[in-house]
């Protein structure tokens, strides 16, 4: 699809090319696809050899980073990943010219991109996050830590301003205990999901009561097995932790960039 006129000779608002990700050259983009920007920009493909970049032409002075821009970035890539192999770019990749997309991005890295696309072909990513049920968690911690239980007893009914030190002491013990539980539970969730995954990656917790936060690369054909496993986990952990499963999405967590400066 050709780009909407790059009006040469009107340098005051230059264009730039926002890059969402890389796909194989035979992919087509639907004309109604929309991406970042306000109003949302149309999306097109810039091809070189066997690979292509999903891009939007945007104005250089255009602010990016609004919530809608972020959602558009991931939404477009997740939709693409459902139908085709895609290498998602990290949010905020902007290239100065269409020619630079072809030369510096696609042609310069052509063979690596082809290899990476082959590696993710037929796979999608899921993210599984588990969050503890607070009172079950606290009860477990007190049950397993006599010191914590004793501190909790001492603190009970006391005005909180007067007991800050004790609270910190208790909180630190609880925190250490929760971290230990998180490692163990993350390990056990990965053990359960590994058989249905091509790869797994541990993510940093995003909440102090997270029980696990992991990304999975799963063969599209094994979705049913993944669902069964996740359902079983959720039943096993009912009352102790909840599970949240996101996906299918583009394989963000499994794309590795090897450092390659302009000098080689």
């Amino acid at each position: 699809m050709s780009s909407p006129s790059t009006q040469q000779g009107r340098p005051e608002v230059e264009s730039a090319w926002y890059v969402y990700g890389i796909v194989e050259a035979d992919v087509e983009v639907l004309p109604e696809a929309r991406g970042v920007g306000d109003p949302p920009a149309s999306v097109e493909l810039v091809r070189s050899g066997d690979v292509a970049a999903l891009v939007s032409e945007i104005k250089r002075d255009q602010p990016l980073g609004r919530p809608d821009d972020l959602l558009a970035h991931q939404g477009l890539l997740d939709a693409a990943a459902a139908d085709a192999a895609v290498l998602p770019m990290r949010f905020g990749a902007v290239v100065g010219s269409r020619d630079a997309v072809v030369q510096e991005l696609l042609t310069a890295h052509h063979d690596q991109l082809v290899d990476a696309l082959r590696a993710v072909a037929g796979h999608v990513q899921y993210v599984v996050r588990s969050r503890y049920v607070e009172d079950t968690l606290m009860r477990e911690v007190l049950d397993e830590n006599p010191t914590a239980a004793e501190l909790a007893g001492q603190l009970h009914g006391q005005p909180s301003e007067a007991t800050r030190d004790l609270q910190l002491q208790l909180g630190e013990i609880v925190n250490d205990a929760v971290e230990a539980k998180r490692s163990a539970d993350t390990e056990s969730i990965i053990r359960a999901l590994e058989p249905v995954s091509a790869a797994t990656a541990i993510r940093a917790p995003t909440h102090e009561q997270d029980a696990a936060h992991v990304a999975l690369l799963v063969q599209t054909s094994r979705k049913g097995e993944l669902d069964d496993t996740v359902n079983r986990l959720a039943r096993d952990w009912e009352g102790r932790a909840t599970l949240r499963v996101l996906g299918p999405m583009a394989p963000f967590d499994f794309i590795v960039t090897t450092e390659q400066g302009p000098g080689g």
Partner: protein, 137 residues
């Protein structure tokens, strides 16, 4: 982008149709392919999404929140057992549901609060508390 999964996992399993903003932030701001810095054009407006600390660093605030969370075990609206009951059952090792007398010593004050909840069973649906306080969903 949507999965049609029958939620056999029950209330404990959440399969949203798409990622929420916080989850998108977790995914697209530090994951994925990176273009060499020299072909990037600097961006503005990114601060919109970086206000949340995305790494959990344990510190004083965390400790105080955990202490509060322990304290909430006493609070009626959890519908669960209260702390005095817990302590007592821990001392008696097992028999968690059987607290008859009030709690003792320092725990006495809580006796009344707890009393009303002892007979409730623990099986009603729970939701993870206080999601809204933090940066997500």
């Amino acid at each position: 982008m949507t999965t049609a999964v029958q939620s056999q996992g029950g209330a404990a399993l959440d399969r949203p149709a798409g990622s929420g903003l916080a989850e998108v932030v977790d995914t697209i701001l530090d994951k994925g392919l990176v273009i060499d810095a020299y072909v990037r054009v600097s961006l503005v407006g990114i601060e919109v999404v970086t206000i949340d600390a995305r790494i959990v660093v344990a510190g004083v605030d965390t400790y105080l929140r955990f202490a509060e969370a322990v304290n909430r075990l006493n609070i009626a609206d959890t519908g669960g057992k209260g702390l005095p009951e817990f302590l007592e059952s821990a001392q008696e090792s097992g028999a968690q549901k059987k607290v008859k007398g009030g709690a003792k010593g320092a725990l006495e004050a809580a006796g009344e609060t707890v009393q009303g909840f002892i007979d409730r069973n623990d099986e009603r649906p729970r939701r993870s508390p206080r999601h809204d306080r933090v940066r997500e969903e």
